[in-house]
């Protein structure tokens, strides 16, 4: 199996080294605390924070000085960034050549503190959202920053039952895992341990259910990919005893085992 490697020389900046708070207002404002002291960056490298909003092409870019003279944004306006779901990237850039080269990068940084106008943090691995789906019961929705499980809002209590009713989750979740992992592998990301993009989170989640805890294969290897996913789904079903739970729930619903 070919292992994923990051051969670009660019370092992933752990999300723990940046913390961001977004404050309500018009426009909203944000403050960041940045600690890049753990890595030996060139002192003249430029540091930049970019703010974006899910679904919008607008980017607010704030220069934070250099590694030697780092000025983290304090109460900086987020003009042009209008949606609730705000996220940030941090870049360390080598500008010694004509074209700026990335030395370090952290993306999908979520604010840890917000007001009412902004979503805080991440909503879990698979947020469930009740929406209008016509005659469909559920659907996976791959968004830019998250994967959502959409459920039909017209089925009473389906959001809760999706998590608590074994007659539903034991059928739905294995298929969800299959599809999300397949898509995550296809995205061909470098599986860094401190990466918290949805693809990385799901692939690490998958790995915990793999029999030998193997990293996922590359997207090009279709057979390996299928085999890895099947092992993960199998491990997930086994760990949670899905068939047993399903059978017991079905018996309970029927009132007998005939």
């Amino acid at each position: 199996m070919i292992k994923r490697i990051n051969s670009l020389g660019r370092k992933r900046i752990p999300t723990s080294q940046v913390s961001i708070a977004v404050h309500d207002g018009d426009p909203r404002r944000f403050s960041a605390s940045i600690d890049l002291s753990e890595t030996d960056w060139p002192l003249d490298a430029i540091v930049v924070i970019e703010a974006m909003c899910a679904g919008s092409p607008n980017v607010k870019r704030i220069e934070c000085g250099t590694i030697s003279r780092l000025i983290a944004p304090q109460d900086s306006p987020l003009d042009g960034i209008t949606g609730r779901n705000v996220f940030f990237s941090l870049k360390v850039i080598d500008r010694t050549e004509k074209i700026g080269r990335l030395l370090g990068f952290a993306d999908n940084l979520r604010p840890i503190q917000t007001g009412k106008q902004t979503e805080v943090g991440r909503r879990g691995l698979l947020p469930v959202e009740a929406v209008s789906l016509g005659q469909e019961i559920w659907r996976i929705d791959f968004r830019e920053q998250d994967v959502f499980l959409l459920v039909n809002q017209d089925v009473p209590r389906l959001s809760e039952r999706m998590r608590s009713d074994p007659r539903i989750y034991s059928i739905v979740y294995p298929e969800v895992i299959r599809r999300v992992l397949s898509k995550a592998i296809d995205e061909n990301i470098d599986l860094d341990e401190d990466d918290d993009r949805w693809q990385a989170l799901w692939l690490r989640f998958g790995r915990t259910f793999h029999q030998t805890r193997d990293n996922p294969p590359n997207a090009e290897d279709e057979e390996e990919k299928e085999a890895w996913i099947e092992q993960v789904v199998n491990g997930f079903c086994k760990t949670h005893g899905l068939m047993d739970r399903f059978a017991i729930a079905l018996q309970g619903a029927d009132g007998s085992d005939e």
């Binding site: 930049v48 092409p57 607008n58 209008t82 074209i99 700026g100 929705d141 791959f142």
Partner: protein, 251 residues
């Protein structure tokens, strides 16, 4: 119904519009009922009050310019999420976005007319919304996308607008224009949006992949169009003389 107040569909209105679209698919010569536009059970007035009139938009640019003037007082975020408004507009301009040809219409998928704001696969397929949105994010260098017919989704719009990582690069639309607009012929270069065949420099297959590669190494946000084109590599150098100049400039 030449000039009326702009309204938006409520949920029942959107459902009713979807049913009418289904009917029109079955009976292709049928006239879509325009009474839905003013039905108080299915619609509400947009605030502040705006008057709208029938226009014979030919290109997406015609529609985009008109909507930008018309909705200048509505907050942008509201327009980005207003399912009822954009869907209502599709019905108001139905003969423009879904014209009859030979007495019959070919009604496309619902998302072409019913705005699905939250669906990343469908939001950019709404013909009127994508026109407005393209002019919003690309006020210049937009002729490949906005110079196209209003009644169908062209390949440039569908391949570009759905990929936010492309449209977030400030010089992207200039790069797109310089790569794929054929100045001599006054139109897009032939073959560059062919989805069925992977060719060098192809928009559908090669450009998004190449940008994804470059964004791992370079700060694409700070690049000029010249710099980004030079980084894209030889397969994107359609014009030999310009390629030579860029090579001399950036190495």
């Amino acid at each position: 119904m030449s000039r009326i107040r702009v309204r938006r569909f409520n949920t029942d209105g959107v459902d009713a519009f979807r049913r009418e679209l289904a009917e029109c698919r079955t009976i292709t010569t049928r006239d879509i009922p325009l009474e839905l536009l003013t039905d108080p059970q299915l619609t509400e007035l947009v605030s502040p009050a705006i008057d709208i009139e029938q226009r014979n938009f030919v290109t997406k640019r015609d529609a985009a310019i008109y909507f930008h003037e018309l909705f200048a007082d509505i907050p942008k975020q509201q327009l980005l999420e207003d399912i009822g408004l954009w869907s209502w507009l599709s019905l108001y301009y139905f003969d423009v976005v879904c014209p009859k040809q030979g007495g019959a219409r070919k009604v496309r998928n619902d998302y072409t007319y019913v705005f699905e704001a939250k669906s990343i696969r469908h939001f950019y397929r709404h013909l009127l919304f994508v026109s407005w949105r393209t002019l919003d994010i690309a006020p210049t260098h937009n002729r490949l996308l906005l110079g196209t017919s209003i009644s169908s989704l062209d390949k440039f719009s569908s391949e570009v607008i759905k990929r936010l990582y492309l449209t977030r690069i400030p010089c992207f639309f200039e790069v797109l224009d310089r790569l794929y607009w054929d100045e001599k012929r006054g139109r897009a270069r032939p073959g560059v949006t062919n989805f069925g065949k992977i060719t060098a420099g192809n928009l559908a297959h090669r450009l998004p992949i190449r940008i994804r590669q470059l964004e791992k190494t370079y700060d694409l946000h700070s690049l000029t169009a010249d710099q980004l084109i030079s980084l894209l590599g030889e397969e994107f150098q359609f014009d030999a003389e310009k390629a030579k100049q860029l090579k001399l400039k950036f190495g």
